[in-house]
């Protein structure tokens, strides 16, 4: 097993599959009366969050607690971080407290890579800047496999602000490893340069959502911030929604079996309409549930729970 989970690219087929299979076992715990395993008893997991992200933090917190780990939430707000303590000094503090794993959310791309140099424990990237969010990609893959029965050979469209999306980068890397075909869709201003060479050969790019929809098994809508229009990435929220938003008529262009995903939080009316978000094709609520199981599997395997 790998020591840290920093990137979707850290996972080969066997490791990724082991995580997904373990997550499936963890999911059975959620159905029990007592939703708790003793696997990480006596181990300490620190949630080090430099950005507000309640949903990701509570997902990791629930995962660690269901494995009986001791959980310390270290939020940048109201801590020494706001007094100017460096990431390195914070890392040394956590190290001195004996953290077995540090789950880090940070606005700067690569911060988890830096942290991994400074602590002995495992580092889990819970989203870094505009770089990656590998546990999101794992829970997305888990959701696709649960709904569609496989990952190899699936055709997945990832739609929206790919340029600024850590979810997109991790998904491209992981899904390509697992044999799915990814097409990135968005206005050219929001598709980063050299994406196929940068992430995974075989990744396609399209600027035309309507032409892509009839041929995909999964459409994953990314959150698009309205403020991007102030930096001329697109002219207006209305034009964005018209060209790249998923509404009812567009959803009906999808094949019968295709599912609609969104990592949340949604901008209803921007990239997705309520009709789509609340439809039976939507997996948005399942993704949240699966997130806990996948994060349990990641913590369990990184901390060697299976070797004890």
């Amino acid at each position: 097993m790998i020591k840290h989970l920093l990137s979707g690219g850290d996972l080969d087929v066997d490791t990724a599959t082991e995580i997904l299979d373990t997550a499936a076992e963890m999911a059975t715990v959620a159905g029990r009366e007592i939703k708790k395993l003793p696997a990480l008893r006596g181990r300490t997991v620190v949630n080090l969050f430099y950005e507000d992200s309640t949903r990701t933090r509570i997902s990791f917190e629930a995962a660690a607690k269901r494995l009986s780990a001791d959980v310390i939430n270290f939020s940048a707000k109201g801590s020494s971080v706001t007094k100017g303590e460096s990431l390195k000094d914070t890392a040394l503090t956590l190290q001195a407290m004996g953290a077995d794993a540090v789950v880090i959310r940070h606005p700067a791309s690569g911060a988890p890579h830096r942290l991994a140099n400074w602590v002995d424990g495992s580092v889990v990237n819970a989203g870094d800047g505009t770089h990656e969010h590998p546990t999101q990609a794992l829970l997305d893959a888990y959701t696709m496999r649960a709904r569609l029965g496989r990952l190899a050979g699936l055709s997945v469209a990832v739609v929206g602000d790919v340029l600024h999306s850590r979810v997109a980068r991790s998904n491209v890397l992981l899904l390509s490893t697992l044999g799915a075909k990814v097409t990135l869709v968005g206005p050219p201003t929001l598709i980063p340069v050299d994406i196929a060479g940068a992430l995974a050969p075989g990744t396609d790019v399209s600027y035309d959502l309507d032409s892509v929809l009839p041929n995909v098994d999964v459409v994953m809508m990314l959150r698009v911030q309205r403020e991007r229009m102030n930096d001329s990435y697109f002219p207006s929220a209305r034009e964005y929604a018209r060209r790249y938003g998923l509404d009812g008529p567009r959803m009906r262009r999808l094949p019968e079996h295709a599912i609609v995903m969104h990592p949340g939080p949604m901008n209803r009316g921007m990239e997705i309409t309520p009709e789509v978000a609340d439809s039976p094709r939507s997996t948005i609520v399942e993704q949240v549930t699966n997130g806990v199981s996948v994060r349990m599997a990641v913590l369990y395997l990184l901390l060697g729970g299976n070797n004890r």
Partner: protein, 425 residues
Amino acid sequence: MTAYLITSVSVVGAAPTDLLIRDGVIAEVGPGLTAPDATVVDGTGLVALPGLVDLHTHLREPGREDAETVESGSRAAALGGYTAVCAMANTSPVADTAGVVEQVWRLGREAALVDVQPIGAVTVGLAGERLAELGAMADSAARVRIFSDDGHCVADPKLMRRALEYVKAFDGIIAQHAEEPRLTEGAQMHEGEVSTRLGLIGWPAVAEEAIIARDVLLAEHVGSRLHVCHVSTAGSVEVLRQAKARGVRVTAEVTPHHLLLTDERAETYDPVYKVNPPLRTAADIAALRAALADGVIDVIATDHAPHAVEDKECEWAYARPGMLGLETALSIALDVLGPEWDLIAERMSRTPARIAGLTGHGVDPAPGVPANLTLIDPAARRTIEPAELASRSRNTPYARMTLPGRIVATFLRGEPTVLDGKAVK
């Protein structure tokens, strides 16, 4: 004043000869010299070059003496084979008045390890809004001739035009940091495959090339001298090539790191590789090396940029850009160009001295010329240990790399500043 007899040394790659240094100048050149009063330096196997001249050094004083001082930077320069450095203006306070440039100049004289030639800011506070008192800096004791807002681009075309015109009155030159600021907002590294993968905001090559294209046209229009700092892209080389073919009075420099390191270094997220302009691609490196050989790029300049530990041991996006360069530049040049001593002397000594107007520097050892020279052991190889550098900072991108060449001695006007590879003071 002690006389020095350097025996059996190859002057700029020629057959070994002896050099006698007396009273600050080269007294004699020829085989079999004797001088009973002189201290003998065995030059067997060594190459003598005119003392290196750096057009682009950040000495950080005044303001960030924790990162570097004029004295520590001068010592680093001497150890790197330099006898003159041009100190950039982005200090705190900014070197935008006669008072500040004279302070830096005086500190350089007191350290007496290299000649420190201050560069003046083009605009007040480097703010890019109105001209600093360029004439007052030119007329000061520091005799400033190069003006630069380095770290910032003089982006306003009208201001750039006026600056180019104005300095003609005292044969000044504007050294431009070519970076269109609107195209590089928040930029962290070269825009390309690697920036996409790392999720770091890209610094596109066109942001440099567009400014150079504009500036060579402005310099042509007003008939002024333009110098382009730290050229980093293949496209910039082509713009410069065409401008020079038309006779535009433009010169250009490239840094050692842009000749050797690619943007893939960023994959560690270690900000020791963060620099502005950013490290580019292998194709850019190939174009820069070719341009250095054929003369489209005139000069290797270090852009020596010391930073305190806390400004580098942090997240990539929060780190300051810049790398140390003075103590490794000659080795990188030797690695990149091979033992092409005449070309190295041209790009690292003669031409930068001419651009900066530093008479007495950049002149090959010959009877009667000021004894500004450096002795290199080309056969030596050394492994770079950051803790052993003379700079106050440690942000070298070459840590634990083994590089060719070692500076054995450096003489400033006949006085050794380095002997046996060690600073004399």
